[in-house]
Symmetry: C2
Amino acid sequence: MENRPHLIQALAVLGRPGSRDAIATPAAVLDLDAFEANVALMAERARTAGLALRPHAKSHKCAWVAQRQIAAGAVGVCCAKLAEAEALAAAGVGSILVTSPIAGAGPAARAATLAARLTDFRIVLDHPDAAAELGAAAQTPIPVLIDVDVGLGRTGVRDVAQGRVVAQAIAAQPNLRLIGLQGYGGHWQHMKGAGARAAAVAEGMERLRAVHAALRESGFDIEVVTGGGTGTFWSDAALGVLTEVQPGSYAFMDREYREALEGDPEGAFAQSLTVAATVISANHPDWVTVDAGLKAFSTDGPLPQPLTPGFEGCGYRFFGDEHGRLSRPARNVRRGDRVDFAPGHIDPTLDRYNVLHLVRGDVLEAIVPIEARGASQ
Amino acid sequence: MENRPHLIQALAVLGRPGSRDAIATPAAVLDLDAFEANVALMAERARTAGLALRPHAKSHKCAWVAQRQIAAGAVGVCCAKLAEAEALAAAGVGSILVTSPIAGAGPAARAATLAARLTDFRIVLDHPDAAAELGAAAQTPIPVLIDVDVGLGRTGVRDVAQGRVVAQAIAAQPNLRLIGLQGYGGHWQHMKGAGARAAAVAEGMERLRAVHAALRESGFDIEVVTGGGTGTFWSDAALGVLTEVQPGSYAFMDREYREALEGDPEGAFAQSLTVAATVISANHPDWVTVDAGLKAFSTDGPLPQPLTPGFEGCGYRFFGDEHGRLSRPARNVRRGDRVDFAPGHIDPTLDRYNVLHLVRGDVLEAIVPIEARGASQ
């Protein structure tokens, strides 16, 4: 029972075992059997492909999940922001890559503090000024990676020339050590069709390969090439540019991913994370009202999908900040009935909750904190 | 300086005075001058109209804001959910109306605990079974209101007959006391044009007036008729059905409300709440990337609007969970530049933040917790 120490620790803090039906709704609920299978499957695939696995914690923001991923073989986790890294570091996660560039002396000082505190802290940058800021703040040597724009256009150096300038700026800082490159194609992850994803990855990753080749020729020792997500796992593995992958959603899945990846090997992960809601009013002839609305689900992806038997075909619509409406099913519905939903987009959904409820079958095994919830700074 | 005691208390807990530029972004920032003017203006209008003011805390979820509203003359606050009420009660707010019906023995027990603990706790219900559940759980007499559906279709009794059934069920419970009615037309609040809003309010509120008349005839003493929002304030005041109003957004305003209410008296409130962001990458020729994305702004209303001089006309687009892209302004933009945004929809935006930064001009006066953030249960 490898999970026990963590569960017991969590139980001591936040809750006791009980019935799933006693969970106050709306609630983020993790099916442990499905979650454990997802975590094991991705770890096995990464091993098979010879890729280091560094799951992205922006999906879960939860130290318990990070520790489960690391126990299954992950080398550490990714964080999107410094505050996310600070929260997970405080909860004991020891190896963190921050995947977004930062700007300014204040954030540079925070990164330096994290680097001094963690066993293994690393961060990306995409501008020579960032190297100067971080170098000036560094209390200890900080491993850094150059972020390369592989076509998303969000962050990263855009060509070999920019890559060389940043590499030289890093080399000029005695307390920075260039260890790698990052290239993330967020726009590829939800493309429909494994072939379309593979073609897009192959084209975009040429930029990363070119920067890599140029820096190697200039004598830089690039140990790590990191990137990728749940949707492009096999494309990345086949292409061979990456040494490390950063999938996040595979642990939970969501409606957006399941619809995009249906039938593909990347879609073989189970829906482990659901949002539990309760019917709080059933006076209307055409629909019932549940207690989960704009503050309970992401609103940027597909609509939440009811999964509870008897409700599967019922259409959900947002009904204000705190409620949703669900078209009436064929079966009788009463106030107090529970309905579980597959969220549309997992990451912003989990960010709305303070705690994660761990269930196995109908038993609530534990409640763990989502430490980095809201930590977007 | 009536604010001082609260500010000093907040400072002791979370932060010290400093520069606005030192705030870690993305951040919820409250302009105190604008906020205080908004709070005073609504209090004055309610006094003039002879209406009790019970601002809705679902907009802010923050005890410091609730206490400012009460200090200006509000009779208490509304909460959308029990968890919101629990968090604000724990922070010292003493008069709370829960505006959503609840379902089941668990929530009824929580409501009864709140009623036993607070000076003035009240809750709505819309079904006879709810009266039985709450009556069974009550440790002390609980004042309740019947929620009436005035056309939104979300919650509430739908006609006089249903209203009578619920009133009788309440009367059958020795520990429940029927004190009033609630009717809220969320769908009217953002209607464009004061005339259109007034017509919709007049039509929908007929249902509330009918239930009120019927219960009065049956001998029920209805002290409170509560409802309304920022957008329908003057319509509600003119109609004369309500004794108490529940506006929330007026304290902050947002892009949705400002566009709907432009030029109307209800739109006379200033944009006091903004989200501060930082440009973290500026490598792309067509746009820059800021550190505020799907987890920093609501995504259900209009897009965030940049307010910082020089950025006003720049179009914002979501760029993933943690970032946004902003079209390049005419002026030069550098990594580290700050940009303030008017959020599209205030309530779900504030729910994404753990703290509220109180600023006056360029000075950060205090940081206060958003205690009920994420408390949708």
